[in-house]
């Protein structure tokens, strides 16, 4: 193999690692925001992602069957719709279910697991048990070849840019908006925030809904790289949790760092050993690191039970 081939492969493998990093980041971001704010682990996170994926499917059906001119441009619109739908669903879920379980994180785990089962059945009843495939716009599939032998998948680039956008957006919102101010105050000291006049319950609801909306966007993005079916959410849920727990709660930087670390470890080990072994090695490493440093990579200064 020539030197340029080796260079190409290294670049492509590096890109693969970055691509996995952005996938994990997208998955974990919504969950991290919710967990940091409310200490709630949302087991239905995968199902909110599936809401986003099915939104893309519905839009693509619309474009296919009714309005062909819509086809190349429906995708960005559909992503916004995915955010809106998942946001609405999250809002309702928080109002109906989560707010009653305030301060009972273990019970929230169980309740959201029940929610995920119910949502899966709703998907199955509405869309059928089989997987569906949204027709994706042509500009999204295919690859970009800056030079021969080097093929960068466009959907990987797309997912990466979406991840960057979303992380940037969340950071901006957290540190520049009034919502962000309220969130940071509540995370730092809930009682004082209440005393200072911040409606922490409303903030909680808004945060949960925004987190679910982000999950919807992630699910929408994943239709470019994966399958869409009633049980698709379960494919992503465990990785999302591990990303968030590994990074340490209440820390966006932690989520970013942990997504990066896990992605690189998985990619590099996959290259040198079989897929199953790589998965086991990555999981074992995460578990061992968590055993040595249970609060995650970047711990919050307040100790959590």
């Amino acid at each position: 193999m020539s030197a340029s081939d080796i260079l190409n492969i290294t670049l492509m493998q590096g890109f693969a690692g970055l691509s996995l990093f952005s996938v994990l980041l997208l998955m974990g971001l919504g969950l991290a925001v919710i967990f940091g704010q409310m200490g709630v682990i949302n087991m239905a996170h995968g199902e909110f992602m599936t809401i986003g994926a099915y939104t893309i499917y519905m839009f693509s059906q619309l474009a296919d069957n009714y309005w062909h001119g819509f086809a190349p441009v429906y995708f960005p619109l559909a992503i916004c719709a995915a955010f809106a739908l998942a946001f609405a669903a999250g809002w309702v879920a928080e109002w109906a279910l989560i707010r009653h379980l305030y301060r009972r994180p273990l019970d929230t785990l169980l309740a959201t697991w029940g929610l995920s089962l119910g949502m899966q059945q709703v998907f199955r009843s509405v869309f059928g048990p089989k997987e569906v495939s949204p027709t994706l716009p042509d500009w999204l599939m295919g690859s970009w070849s800056p030079k021969p032998g080097l093929d960068i998948p466009i959907n990987g680039l797309f997912v990466m840019s979406l991840a960057v956008l979303m992380t940037g957006g969340v950071l901006l919102a957290l540190y520049r908006s009034r919502w962000g101010l309220r969130v940071r105050a509540t995370v730092a000291n809930r009682q004082m925030a209440n005393a200072a006049g911040i409606d922490t319950r409303k903030t909680d609801r808004l945060t949960f809904a925004i987190g679910c909306g982000m999950a919807g966007v992630a699910g929408a993005a994943f239709t470019a790289i994966g399958s869409t079916g009633p049980t698709s959410g379960s494919l992503y849920i465990v990785d999302s949790f591990l990303v968030v727990t590994f990074g340490g709660a209440a820390s966006l930087l932690g989520t970013v760092a942990s997504a990066f670390g896990i992605a690189q470890m998985q990619s590099i080990s996959e290259f040198f050993m079989t897929g199953s072994s790589a998965r086991v090695v990555t999981l074992l490493t995460i578990v061992i690191v968590l055993m040595l440093r249970p609060q995650g990579l970047f711990a919050s200064k307040v100790r959590r039970a």
Partner: protein, 387 residues
């Protein structure tokens, strides 16, 4: 209160107070949850009523549900009393089941019955994977005492390692739950991937005899059911002993106010590890009995989804009640079987409703409902009939 005899005059329970007050003892008094009365009712139910009322096929199903009850009872100890929520009990259920399955499989793979294989004398799945000799770590499972010991020791060791590492660093709650999930995932990926050694996703199937005794016949199923039921009752009695001892009180205190217990000088971590190990051993025994009664073990019990389902058994029955856990396991599984037969599209909604309902409406499960509604009603009736 008499300072020289602090317990004199202080009633140990409202029931004894009523007795001391001279009220005629009423039958309801015996039916406190986890009291001897409830235990007797449960024993009568599973030892007498079910065997008489159900045919062998349904009794075998009931036996299967009772093996899940082991896991639920373990969770009551760990979660209800110790405050340790483990979402990975499937790991221990599976480990116990696999240890028993390995012994039974080796017995069924003697050179005579496997003579059509390329390598007689080894389990069939090893033969398909072109293994030519039994791996060294399978060899000890030729002996029943070793297998039985392994059923108890291996899960306990794993629970000890994981628990020690976590609890010494004061990790608990949600973090611990997620890590148990990761462990469940690791084990299930390992088992499925190493199909030459473990049978892979098919599991270890076609188990036939235990020391020559055919476990598939009707008579065997009946005997195994009774063994299972008796073991379950013994386990509940042991757990009750733990609960009523000082250890149990400490566990409860730890669950509610961990720091105070720590400041009182107790090593909280080791108590939590103990509770977790108890849950692990109980789940493993359940797994072994499952393998004996159903005749195979598969990695579908080891993963995340079944582990979370096992938690719901304890939650429905009442996470504080040992007897309730058994009822919870039986009821949820009965519901699952019945619903998935009659309304296959609805039973996921039922499960969802169970999870949400148990958490929101009756957090102490059926036992809690019993305590809050049935007992006072019985008490009022008793008081009315006494007066």
């Amino acid at each position: 209160m008499d300072p020289l005899n602090p317990s004199a005059g202080v009633p140990a329970s409202p029931d004894r107070a009523a007795a001391r007050a001279g009220l005629r003892p009423a039958p309801w008094r015996w039916l406190t949850t986890d009291g001897y009365g409830s235990l007797a009712v449960l024993a009568a139910l599973i030892l007498v009523v079910f065997p008489l009322a159900l045919d062998v096929f349904r009794l075998n199903l009931m036996g299967k549900y009772l093996t899940y009850a082991f896991v639920a009872v373990g969770l009551v100890m760990a979660w209800g009393y110790g405050g340790v929520l483990s979402l990975g009990q499937g790991v221990f259920f599976g480990l116990g089941g696999y240890c028993m399955a390995m012994f039974l499989k080796l017995e069924a793979s003697d050179p005579v019955s496997t003579k059509i294989q390329s390598t007689p004398g080894i389990p069939d799945f090893m033969d398909w994977n072109q293994l030519t000799a039994l791996p060294f770590w399978w060899k000890p499972f030729h002996s029943l005492p070793f297998a039985l010991a392994a059923v108890v020791v291996v899960p306990c060791a794993l629970a000890f390692v994981v628990g020690f590492a976590m609890f010494k660093r004061r990790v608990g709650g949600v973090y611990f739950a997620i890590i148990t999930q990761a462990v469940a995932l690791i084990l299930s990926v390992l088992i499925i991937g190493q199909q030459g050694y473990t049978g892979g996703v098919n599991g270890i199937t076609d188990l036939r005899t235990l020391l020559g005794w055919d476990i598939r016949g009707d008579g065997a199923k009946l005997i195994l059911y009774f063994v299972n039921a008796v073991l379950l009752l013994v386990a509940i009695l042991c757990c009750r002993q733990i609960q009523r001892s000082k250890l149990g009180t400490l566990l409860l205190a730890m669950r509610d106010k961990e720091d105070r217990v720590r400041f009182s000088g107790y090593d909280v971590a080791m108590f939590k590890v103990f509770a977790f190990c108890v849950a692990a051993v109980l789940a493993a025994i359940g797994g072994a009995m499952f393998t004996l009664q159903v005749g195979f073990m598969s990695p579908s019990f080891v993963g995340i989804v079944p582990s979370i389902e096992m938690v719901i058994y304890a939650a429905v029955g009442g996470r504080m009640s040992l007897v309730g856990a058994v009822y919870g396991a039986v009821l949820v599984n009965l519901g699952k079987t019945w619903f998935s037969e009659s309304f296959p599209n609805l039973w996921l909604f039922l499960m969802a409703a169970l999870f949400i309902g148990v958490v929101m409406a009756f957090p102490n499960g059926l036992a809690g409902l019993y305590d809050s509604h049935v007992k006072p009603w019985l008490a009022r009736r008793g008081a009315r009939s006494a007066s």
